[in-house]
């Protein structure tokens, strides 16, 4: 884990409210594992103190990129920044996905919206290709479909309004695949919490292993402030664990969903 000043190489609108930001971060980029994140301090944003966590999308040499949606003052300030400007990065952070083995289960990736970005490195580095299920509200929410296809993965798209791919939820497409072909599959998922919970339930139903990348309000990203905790089962109940340190990727069976409410 390193703290470094990263120069922006490019910051471009991908579609609608989504941006793709490439940074030069030579200490961090070569060390990134699939599912890890960077904690970004947007230096021009003086009154909003905290860093913002972003899953790492792609890595190339000494650069890394993130895909983000403008949803608040942090991401809006980030969207206004351009090439040559600097950000402070902490990373790579967190415990990421387990890389599938060439003789292991067939990986099925399940992504909600820009959760797809967090799974690109997993697909790229997996010795075994599988299927990516991606869902969003509408066409604009389906990001990086061409990138996954270029890796040789099959991509199945669902949108809630039917403007792209099948109409419906990503979990419906997943179920349609699993009903005839569940054996020997492993699920990997990143997206909104209700989607992750549904994937966890499906994994349970078909008795499949599943790794879920969770999202919680984050403070320091270093395991210190204890803001980003989620309940994890223990031998005698559950305890809070940190999404920034023990996570963001957890085994679906370990999450004590009943304590989340």
């Amino acid at each position: 884990m390193f703290e470094q000043t990263a120069q922006i190489v490019a910051n471009e609108r991908a579609a609608g409210p989504y941006f793709r930001l490439v940074m030069r971060a030579p200490a961090i980029a070569p060390r990134v594992q699939p599912g890890q994140f960077v904690h970004v301090r947007v230096l021009p944003m003086k009154e909003a103190l905290l860093r913002r966590p972003f899953s790492i999308f792609q890595v190339a040499g000494d650069t890394l990129s993130i895909l983000f949606k403008t949803i608040g003052q942090g991401t809006e300030a980030l969207a206004r920044m351009g090439a040559g400007e600097e950000l402070s990065l902490l990373g790579p952070l967190g415990h990421g996905f387990t890389l599938p083995r060439s003789d292991g289960e067939i990986p099925l990736l399940v992504a909600g919206g820009y959760g797809m970005a967090a799974m690109y490195l997993l697909a790229q580095r997996s010795p075994r290709k599988g299927i990516v299920f991606v869902g969003g509200r509408q066409r604009v929410d389906i990001l990086c479909e061409p990138e996954f296809r270029a890796l040789g993965w099959e991509v199945r798209v669902t949108t809630e309004d039917g403007s792209h791919g099948e109409k419906g939820l990503v979990t419906q497409a997943l179920l349609a695949e699993l009903r005839p072909h569940a054996a020997g599959r492993k699920l990997f998922a990143c997206g909104p919490t209700p989607m992750l919970q549904a994937v966890g339930k499906i994994a349970d139903e078909f008795n499949l292993p599943a790794e879920l990348s969770l999202d919680e309000h984050m403070g320091c990203g270093l395991g210190v402030c204890l803001a980003c905790v989620i309940p994890i089962k223990t031998s005698d109940g559950w305890e809070y664990q940190r999404t920034c340190s023990e996570g963001p990727v957890f085994d679906a069976r370990d999450i004590a969903w009943e304590a989340c409410l």
Binding site: M1, E3, R41, K46, E47, A48, L49, L50, R51, S88, L90, E216, H217, G219, C220, L222, G223, V224, C225, L226, A227, C228, V229, I230, E239, Y240
Partner: protein, 304 residues
């Protein structure tokens, strides 16, 4: 140039430490900075038994500040000794353990346990956490209870005792004096301020606990005033804290009367802050021909 300062019989190699709860148990920062350059490491609050803490969301960012209601999640005394003490005791700089309880007896018992452990630099008594129904702030906002807690811990240990005062009192002087009279070797001023924030779209509080403690740069001027008032009331040293982001902030606290300072919320977003503060104090002393850090303490001049 001499940067060292005395907190009771504890010598800090420089006046800059970290605020409890913002630095974990030190080990989390070991890969980012050299902990041995700090004046001391202050760990997150420990009570006798493990504590699960509050539900999420536990934090909310506000303008120039941070609201939190973590609920003092922690490993308890045994968990702390097993998981974190082997790392901390190998450091060259002192470890200050922040302790709390829900009864006077529990505070004293925790103090006894750490006294028996040996090697601890000092104990900081948290009598001011705003986020607990029992324990914490009730002891810090009642002069009589405060005196009882400090006196009971004083009986339980010879370790230096630092009482961390609540800002949530009409006048801090009687609390500062009560802690001093009951045997506290020093004061920490101040803990977080009770506060809240609301999401107007959902009409829900931004914290699951509804209210929390406010920290960060937005509280600094209030904290400086509290240090100034406490320093006028007592002879024991004060560790000043509240929104310190740089050496200038730290020097303000020292001029107001603090012997040492603690970097808090800034550790969350700029892990090098404490080390930058030390370098900046050194630079300030050089520039002003000051040879001893303690000469900064209480050097505020008010024109008559």
């Amino acid at each position: 140039m001499n940067l060292s300062v005395q907190i009771g019989n504890l010598t800090m190699p420089n006046p800059v430490t970290v605020a409890s709860g913002t630095f974990g148990y030190g080990v989390e920062y070991a890969r980012l900075l050299d902990l041995n350059q700090l004046g001391a490491v202050v760990v997150k609050g420990i009570r006798l038994n493990p504590v699960r803490g509050h539900p999420t969301p536990r934090t909310a960012e506000v303008t120039s500040g941070l609201l939190n209601a973590i609920g003092l999640q922690g490993p308890g005394v045994d968990g702390f000794i097993r998981k974190y003490w082997p790392f901390l005791k190998a450091l060259k700089v002192p470890t200050i353990v922040n302790i709390w309880g829900t009864t006077v007896e529990e505070y004293a018992e925790v103090a006894r346990r750490f006294d028996a452990l040996g090697g601890i630099g000092a104990l900081e008594l948290n009598v001011s956490c705003p986020n607990l129904k029992e324990g914490g702030a009730q002891f810090g906002t009642d002069v009589k209870l405060l005196s009882q807690v400090v006196a009971a811990c004083r009986q339980a240990t010879k370790l230096p005792l630092i009482t961390k005062l609540s800002p949530n009192v009409p006048n801090i002087a009687p609390y500062a004096k009560a802690a001093e009279a009951a045997g506290s070797d020093a004061l920490s001023v101040t803990n977080s301020f009770p506060a809240m924030a609301i999401d107007i779209e959902t009409r829900r509080p931004k914290l699951a606990n509804v209210t929390g403690g406010l920290t960060g740069p937005c509280i600094k001027p209030i904290a400086v005033k509290l240090v100034w008032e406490a320093a006028k009331a007592v002879k024991i040293p004060i560790i000043g804290m509240g929104g310190i982001q740089n050496a200038a902030d730290a020097i303000e606290f020292m001029m107001a009367g603090a012997t040492a300072v603690a970097v808090g919320t800034a550790n969350f977003y700029e892990p090098q802050t404490a080390l930058n503060v030390i370098a900046g104090i050194r630079e300030f002393m050089e520039r002003h021909g000051i040879s001893e850090a303690r000469q900064l303490t209480g050097s505020l001049q008010i024109a008559k």
